[in-house]
Symmetry: C2
Subunit: 474 residues, 2 copies
């Protein structure tokens, strides 16, 4: 490395130290471009110029068995750098997009992917992850010359593969697809930088300067104005039909058995997983309903996640990251006792999230759930209602019964006073994220047994309906 980079290195180290100290944002550098343009060299340069201890580089190849068992997008989102650090993606989600763009046939899958990337990068920007995207470019002639030079040098010949030559032969097509990709995903908060790469020295200087600029410039995240919507207040639901004597046990057993078999069926385990979300007022019966859902399931293939306060590692990442971590592998189920909907419920009502944060969550959640469903995950969401009278009765009962005592906290009683605010938040949530692909089921919870049967019925129906559909291309 030449001495000419020394001044740049000093400035980069200073800027990196500031990023670390402030720890209020992260920098994600995405490296893309044609073969032979020196993507690997650029990544090595970054490690050389920066403090490599706080840079984490991921080279993404074909997805591994474990990566394939979960929605593919998660392998990227899981690795978004924590605030205060720098991440480098090499062979990123843009490589997946390019592969789609190069497929024959209609471009709808490619365009869908580009739209998804736009949404994801907007979310990242709002979460204070600056995305710096570099596309290393060579003309057809330059690429040929460069690959030949690499192949001639005994020190680098091993780096030139047959695949590189095959890709070089497609130079024109690749350039066309890359142009569309760049055009469609260029945004002020996540701009593309196309870098002529024929001269390694000027390429490297350009990259170093762009990284310095990204570290020094505070990019204002895109402001997403809150779309105010008139949302009708939640009308009380009509009570569920009264159960006849003995009806509960029999139907419960039958539904539990059916669910257990569905979740061990080949149709499910080969292509699907289940995410079931339970939200609702305190004491609406979420816990009891969840117990009936899991009662006959094989404990090795599901887990119940109770959403608690985020940990340090989670707080350093975008809001949804801590839920991503819990999403099941194919053939498994995760049951959420409260969920990401906390953002637009408790965090909104209690003021833990700023309005800008919870207001954009509607869209972010929608995007995430659509992507889950597209990857084969069955997403079923429940909102359990409970009348104020029945809620009070249950709180009083909890205070009396020893082993239920631990379920009653002061917070429960405080939250009760804010009931109208919670109902208003729930109304907006139900109106806005009750998507066709991940419907919200509202269940009257005053009659516990009837509510449990209703939950199980809807869950079984959702899984059965999905398994009847043609298999998704996962």
């Amino acid at each position: 490395m030449s001495e000419a980079f020394d001044a740049l290195r000093e400035a980069l180290l200073e800027a990196q130290a500031k990023l670390r100290d402030a720890s209020d944002r992260a920098l994600l550098i995405v490296i893309s471009g044609v073969e032979g343009a020196g993507k690997g060299e650029v990544v090595n340069l970054l490690h050389h110029l920066l403090d490599a201890r706080h840079v984490r580089t991921y080279g993404f190849g074909p997805p591994t068995e474990d990566e394939r068992a979960r929605p593919l997008l998660l392998r990227y989102l899981d690795r978004v750098p924590p605030r205060g650090t720098i991440g480098v993606f090499f062979g990123s989600y843009y490589a997946d997009a390019m592969a789609l763009g190069l497929e024959d046939g209609d471009a709808s899958a490619f365009e869908h992917e580009l739209a998804l990337i736009r949404k994801i990068e907007r979310m990242l920007a709002a979460e204070r992850v600056t995305v710096l995207k570099l596309y290393l470019k060579l003309s057809k002639k330059e690429q040929k010359g460069r690959l030949e030079a690499l192949a001639r040098d005994p020190h680098t010949a091993w780096r030139v593969t047959a695949e590189d030559w095959a890709l070089a032969a497609m130079h024109g097509r690749i350039q066309k697809v890359a142009e569309r990709m760049i055009e469609a995903t260029d945004a002020p908060h996540a701009p593309w930088n196309v870098i002529p790469a024929a001269d390694a020295r000027s390429r490297d200087r350009r990259v170093a300067k762009l990284v310095l600029e990204a570290l020094e410039t505070h990019v204002e995240p895109p402001s997403i104005p809150r779309v105010e919507r008139a949302v009708p207040a939640l009308e009380p639901l009509p009570p569920l039909a009264k159960l006849k004597n003995g009806e509960y046990k029999d139907e419960l057993n039958a539904l539990q058995e059916r669910l257990a078999r569905l979740l061990r069926s080949d149709a499910f385990t080969s292509a699907h997983s289940l995410v079931a979300v339970f939200e609702g007022m305190d004491a609406a019966g979420k816990g009891g309903a969840i117990r009936r859902v899991i009662d006959r399931l094989d404990a090795r293939y599901y887990r119940v996640v109770r959403v608690a306060a985020p940990t340090e590692e989670e707080r350093a990442r975008p809001y949804l990251w801590r839920f991503h971590r819990q999403f099941p592998r194919r053939g498994h189920a995760t049951i959420f006792d409260r969920s990401w909907y906390g953002r637009v419920l408790v965090e909104r009502v209690e003021g833990f999230a700023a309005e800008a944060e919870w207001a954009r969550a509607f869209d972010e959640i929608d995007v995430m759930e659509e992507e889950l469903v597209r990857s084969g995950v069955i997403v079923v969401k429940f909102w359990l209602d409970v009348s104020p009278e029945e809620q009070l009765r249950r709180f009083e009962e909890r205070a009396r019964i020893p082993y239920k005592r631990f379920k009653l906290t002061d917070e429960d009683l405080r939250n009760r006073e804010k009931r109208p605010l919670y109902l208003e938040a729930a109304a907006e949530m139900l109106a806005r994220i009750d998507s066709a692909w991940a419907p919200f089921h509202r269940i009257p919870g005053d009659d516990k047994k009837a509510a449990r049967l209703d939950v199980l019925r809807k869950l079984v129906a959702a899984v059965e309906a999905r398994l009847r559909e043609p298999s998704p291309a996962v």
Copy 2:
């Protein structure tokens, strides 16, 4: 679930709530036993009786691609429950041990595995993870009857596989191996409980009572008396040979090139990974040496880890857990800028770890490193010396040079005063964990350039030596 369990459930929920509140220990329940004995039913029972939101069950099957890419033991250790929670292992490391015990030929691999398990469980106990081990037992006749009954019932027939029958045919041999396994790994802090499983009801009551007992009894971790050893003080090393003019650049380039090629060779990427550890006095030149090690490496296949204060999630786990997380996949390298040796260096000297904690770390680290090496990891450790005069000179230089300023902290200056204590701790560390499989290289650091060459030479030699050995059975 019958009402007779209601009282037990109350007691279990109370005990579990206490475990959560205290968060000072974890319970790991290991389920083992013969096919048809109801291991799955017992796990489901636990989820039913406990608050399933704080129980995490892992069913371990054949290792996945990603699990195989790292030392196999890590898939268990990664999943040790955090303090305050309960973990259930189904098909645990005991299933691996049983498989080894059932292999034909000599029993040395089996016995090695059992010895390893003893050490791991002693470490877990010391880290306040109570291990409750359940072996569900059936006589040959009972097993046959039970499998036939399951196969007859249309609701359960699908659960009986051809493999179950094959295993049932080996009942006698399996029993013998299990007896040896139980005998060899039964310990006061991690006792085996052999449970007759022919009667499901009494099996379930027994399991529930054992779990309750484990939650309620505070098991004193095994006290491991510190073995005092006379350790000679660290004598200053003779300085490295002075480099001739121009010698540095040429040899550095040649060594970097050699290392880069070694780490991309088929011999390495197919069966090995590299863990390089850098320890040493402040300003001994660890950072500079690391930069020279990584200079020509492909950034996608290594990472530099700087050991910082543990996070919440890490503090809730055994000490070594946060390092396990960083161990590389096959074909990759992790370079540690400080490491688990902090336990017997800074944590010992500064009193962050109690004597009992750092004293047992010598053995724990030794076990971990041996297991890494056995799994194909190449472990190379460096201790960089620096004379007090040279150290002071470097501190003063750092204070002057702007981009080095951020490397100098008050802590550095304070640590300097404790030099004799650090040297004493280092002397004991070097004497005790300089194993044949993972040697510690002590490098005189006063001459930076000579030290960097020496580090690279030793690293290259260690990798080359390992690649010449016959491949391990990973």
